[in-house]
């Protein structure tokens, strides 16, 4: 397979590579300074640290949602590699942002379901992309709900308004909505911050399944969640990347004193 060999030649198992990424908002708030991280494929990379550290901003750069905010300055590099190893310059103003956002899906802290039925929430992204085939739409609905561990609970009420679902179900619906587009990367910004422990457990369990097919970048809502889920972990503090290491190492033996202090709860 040509694709396979090209991939080997790239000598990379990275999905996203950012180099010296810097960002400043026009109002001078939360910004990124020189962030260099390589996000590995088919793993959960966790970005953790105190609020205002730049984690959400970093996520929003990766699917260019920061375009909707007032950004004064954006510097450095952010590259998304396809399955074949083809690089895409995420920051290039001329790329097709719509197709980037389909490849890099986003789930927000507060579950925001669109004011339509469960079914329509899931098909919305495909429909705006021009998909009209009922069969393919239905298949995408079923597959994405199964992947988000929600299928059994809603399969008989797909035409009900999505707001009728519980908070935990809504958040899994939001995950399913991203998955319906068959993205390559899933960005999750504190997806369980508003959920009870049982719902949180369900979401975390589905993430463990999802990472077999997708690359996941998660901003956890607690250090404990970071430790539970991280294959790789990055500690963000005031816009800087303090430390980036495999999860097992990070949470047992951090190298930077600030990381250790934060993990042990001495500040935050």
């Amino acid at each position: 397979m040509v694709a396979q060999s090209a991939h080997t030649l790239m000598d990379t198992d990275y999905k996203i590579v950012t180099e010296n990424l810097g960002l400043q908002y026009s109002d001078g708030t939360e910004s990124l300074k020189d962030i260099s991280i390589n996000i590995p494929k088919n793993a959960i990379s966790v970005l953790f640290g105190p609020a205002g550290g730049g984690k959400s901003t970093y996520l929003r750069v990766l699917n260019r949602l920061n375009d909707l905010a007032n950004v004064k300055e954006l510097s450095g590099k952010a590259i998304l590699y396809s399955e074949d190893g083809d690089p895409l310059d995420i920051l290039d103003p001329d790329i097709d942002v719509t197709s980037l956002r389909r490849r890099v899906g986003m789930v927000f802290a507060r579950p925001v379901v669109l004011p339509m039925s469960i079914n329509e929430n899931l098909t919305y992204g495909l429909e705006v992309a021009g998909e009209r085939n009922k069969n393919r739409l239905n298949q995408a609905v079923k597959r994405s709900l199964q992947q988000a561990a929600l299928w059994a609970e809603v399969k008989d009420r797909l035409d009900d308004p999505a707001v009728d679902l519980s908070g935990g179900q809504q958040q899994r619906l939001c995950i399913a909505r991203s998955l319906a587009l068959e993205p390559e990367v899933l960005l999750l910004d504190e997806p369980t911050s508003g959920l009870d422990p049982i719902s949180t457990g369900k979401v975390e369990a589905s993430l463990q399944e999802l990472k077999k097919e997708y690359t996941i970048i998660l901003v956890p809502h607690s250090v404990q969640q970071a430790a539970r889920t991280a294959d790789h972990a990055a500690f963000f503090l005031q816009g800087e990347l303090i430390e980036y290491a495999p999860g097992a190492l990070m949470f047992t033996n951090p190298t930077d004193q600030r990381t250790a202090d934060y993990i042990e709860g001495r500040f935050g």
């Binding site: 699917n63 949602l65 909707l68 719509t98 197709s99 956002r101 389909r102 899906g105 986003m106 927000f108 507060r110 925001v112 669109l114 004011p115 919305y124 992204g125 705006v128 992309a129 308004p161 999505a162 707001v163 939001c174 909505r177 991203s178 587009l181």
Partner: protein, 269 residues
Amino acid sequence: MLRLVAIIAVLPIIAILVYIIYKGAPALSWEFITGFPSDGMRSGGIWPAIVGTFFLTMLCTIVVAPLGIGAAIYLSEYAADNRWTQSIRIAIISLAGIPSVVYGLFGLGLFVIFFNFGISILAGSLTLAIMTLPVIITTTEEALRAVPQSFRVVSRSVGATQLQTIRRIVVPQALPGIMTGVILGLERAAGETAPILFTAAVFYLPNLPSSVTDPTMALPYHLYVISTQVPGMEPQIQFGTALVLLLFVLGLNLLATVIRSRARARRQW
């Protein structure tokens, strides 16, 4: 104490309603609604005035709704918050504050004389359209801004363009509010005398207008005429006309209220 103030505030409205219904209701009949005036307005009906007000209001809507809604979408969804849009907003607020007789004179100068439309439904509707534009822009913009920002972000995050987001999420969600605004604008257009005084309305016509370039009779103007210009007028006919105009406007108001409350009950945010 405050309750007393509230009651005092409502009293004039109730008084006007009761008084006009009391004095005008006896005049209402099928002949009064569907007949032409006769005997120099002193008897007969007000059908041509009803038709005229209906046409003026409809044409005004057709012109002003797309313009006003379009402008509101631009201001709410596209325009950056800078000097340029601030001056547009100030212009809209000022436009809303201009006395209606000034619109009438403006319509006379621009549409009747400069564009040579003559005294016509067209000239009157366009004048009313300019007058109602600020109402519709302001209410539509409010309705659009009330749609949660998070819907827009989510829509964009799954790859929808800004235009798709506006068409498929923002406008449908704001639609009840937009319709309420349009109807409130129409209500104002239907009830005003001054803007059509020099641009569309005439004292008496033997026939209904047959095209938009014809002049027309209209309810508010008719009421003004029979109240001040016709000696020996029967008060019953005056109050009957006032009652019909009132019912027309209140009917529109009621429609707006129904749309708003039904939408609120169904709204999912």
